[in-house]
Symmetry: C2
Subunit: 444 residues, 2 copies
């Protein structure tokens, strides 16, 4: 019998010393060994176990490094890290729960045409062959990608920017978070109803949110450090902010010392007219512009960009340099290839054609039963309905395997009820099925 | 002469109607057209310009959608969005400034062995062939990747976890941010000196930071919602938290109702003994565990994971489901392949051998001139020096093309000065050169 209740198992792939250390650690945690207990010498234990002395020395070295035991000059080795009031967490292992299988008819799931798969594959094959940067890369984002984005913002959004003003982000809320990190502490004015992820992001900074009625001119930002708006396509009511309101907003923001944060999430998808130029094109000194690849290419890329007023550039770069809060390099590299090869333009054109065909289909199906909240653009429509009918309709589509959001979940002070019906993330057949279920519920 | 100073240019690839709309918008912004000005009819302008009426109608539709003009029943079309006090931002475009070229000898830039490039390429080629998810994917992270991580955490960190307790993050600070989003508001206790990105992340939530002397037992967390610690390798002083201090921390956290947040950033790199098991293995109910791919594979992956106390799971998942704050799907898919193929184990083994050889080289070179702050592990060593000598040495290595950090930048109340000397992100020749420059400065 060894002087400690431990054994070695030569069939176990772990080194014998590690096996021993592990067993002694458990004895201490279980309270079998307590602080002050004297341990056998490495020589004696090695003899008892029939192992080389280097094995027991390795175990004692490990336990000493972890602080479980200590040697006292001339006296031997003693347990030192022994409390007995810490229960060991129960050990269990289950397989993960299955992913939710509902087809999401939400405001942000875009349609992807299988025809473009070759371009996607090519971009990622390039990533596979490229050499990743050593360490953290340029915290502003890949210079070549910032060049491409600056070119495209000018061409598609009327936003003439210097690539040095462009920063890559891990999406819209990441850009908002970086801006908040360098703005003075103070409330943020936000559209109501509005984008819930942005509201959570602001609240996570400990800031209050001031409700801006989503369809009114913004004439007062006193005390606010910023105003967060979706001028190209109010989320989720759909309105385009009129030119006069845009100019009023810029005048108000300048007067009250607030930054305007423009979330330009899906502005490339309009079916009546060409995309409305970005608000930031009217005043880059006052407006921080946030764009995203989520609606044009794929939300799961977690890629976005921002165009900064030059006054914020230095402090924001310092913040990002310390936090390393930038999008993954492989994603930036792939998106650069996708832009360069015309993939992004091609998928936007295809999706715009699909949405332009689906939008009137959704409107025709639902307008006999609900009131459209605003013009339909992007990949969703918003419908006003009494809450009980909206809740019932949502339950019906969920039972049929689809998911969509209630309008009231976007509201804070606003008292609007209804449904947000996305039409990007489903096949044509799925969309028809979901619309039929909605119509059946709403007409009953 | 047309009745408006506009023209069409058939050599311009943009549609003629968009060209017209653009020119009218500029006239309004420049103040040439002001609110109330009557515009010519689409028929008249079409005749004057020699274009189809559909062209002028497209332009007017666009401007009406943007709110620059409005039609008044029976009276014609008028400018409505005209302020003149908003200067148009100056248009300029430069090429981006070049990337910084300094070789970073920091605490977090790992070494990458070219021998492993084939495994990296294979993983990304798989991404190129895989079908990305439609819309946002599972907000907890890829189930298959969570399975792999749970297995590896048990094997390498002594952390027996259920895959359902694992969440993928965009890195350590992202995990910290998610935890803070669901913890009660209140100060966070953090090691001093400590990880600066974590401090900025806590402060960005509007919380105060309570300084914990980095090498003392933690016996008081009253009023704190959490304690952020690096028990496997105190960042940047190097100490392994002794077993007794670990148990004391857990007891204190349970008594004071604080969550322990364990940042386990580089624990796989120890050269004397086997890696010390994770603190979370002693109490998964009290400890949230944060791991990262930055130190083992590449920081530019922006990938990390956390193991949650089950009490936080539901609220954290709700938060992540709304914010979509998860790592990019292609990165998760690639990391799953890298784990499955043994790539991660292989690069960790290679790097451990390299670091085990470099660590004593750095110690031998610098110990005649500075005092080592603690045991060397991971990919850096920390040296105590008077501030003036540290500043001078840093200036010397920067002039030679390297960058490293001053110890005082990690301090808040602590009054420690010196240098943090990383040895992961350089070639052997570069490391020799940097050490020679440091020695020359420190010995002068």
């Amino acid at each position: 019998m060894p002087s400690l209740p431990v054994t070695v198992d030569r069939a176990d792939p772990r080194p014998l010393g590690i096996q021993l250390a592990d067993q002694v650690r458990r004895l201490v945690l279980a309270g079998t060994l307590v602080t002050g207990d004297r341990l056998p010498s490495t020589r004696r234990l090695a003899t008892e176990l029939g192992v080389a002395r280097s094995v027991t020395e390795q175990a004692w070295d490990q336990l000493r490094a972890e602080g479980w035991i200590e040697g006292r000059q001339g006296a031997g080795t003693f347990v030192t890290g022994g409390h007995t009031d810490v229960p060991i967490a129960p050990r269990r292992r289950r397989t993960p729960a299955p992913e939710r299988a509902l087809v999401r008819l939400d405001a942000g799931t875009p349609w992807l045409d299988a025809r473009h798969a070759a371009g996607w594959r090519r971009a990622w094959r390039e990533v596979s062959a490229a050499t990743p940067p050593r360490g953290y890369d340029d915290p502003r984002g890949l210079p070549a990608l910032r060049m491409q984005l600056a070119e495209r913002l000018g061409r598609t959004r009327g936003l003439i920017v210097d690539p040095d003003d462009v920063r890559l982000t891990a999406g819209t809320t990441a850009g908002l978070r970086h801006l908040l990190a360098v703005l003075p502490h103070g409330p943020v004015a936000m559209e109501d109803p509005g984008y819930r992820a942005a509201v959570l992001t602001v609240r996570a900074t400990g800031r209050a949110v001031v409700d801006l009625p989503a369809e009114a001119a913004i004439t007062d930002l006193a005390g606010c450090c910023a105003a967060y708006v979706t001028p190209a396509h109010q989320h989720p009511l759909g309105r385009v902010m009129p030119a006069e309101d845009r100019l009023t907003l810029l005048t108000t923001a300048r007067r009250d010392g607030a930054l305007v944060i423009e979330d330009d999430y899906d502005s490339e998808f309009r079916y009546d007219v060409a995309p409305v130029p970005a608000l930031a094109s009217l005043g880059q000194d006052t407006v921080a512009y946030l764009g995203t690849a989520s609606k044009s290419v794929a939300p799961s890329l977690r890629l976005g960009w921002m165009v900064l007023p030059s006054s914020l550039r230095a402090s924001l770069d310092r913040h990002r340099e310390v936090t390393h809060d930038a999008p993954a390099w492989p994603v930036q590299r792939a998106y650069w290839a996708l832009l360069r090869d015309g993939y992004v333009d091609a998928v936007v054109r295809s999706a715009r054609r699909i949405y332009a065909e689906r939008a009137p289909r959704v409107v025709a199906a639902l307008s006999p039963y609900a009131e459209l909240a605003g013009p339909v653009a992007g990949m969703y429509s918003t419908w006003l309905l009494p809450q009980d009918r909206a809740v019932r309709a949502r339950a019906a589509v969920r039972a049929a395997g689809f998911d969509l959001n209630l309008l009231d979940t976007y509201c804070r002070s606003a008292r609007l009820t209804g449904l947000v019906v996305g039409f990007g993330g489903a096949s044509d057949a799925q969309l028809d099925e979901a619309l039929a279920v909605l119509v059946a519920s709403l007409s009953s």
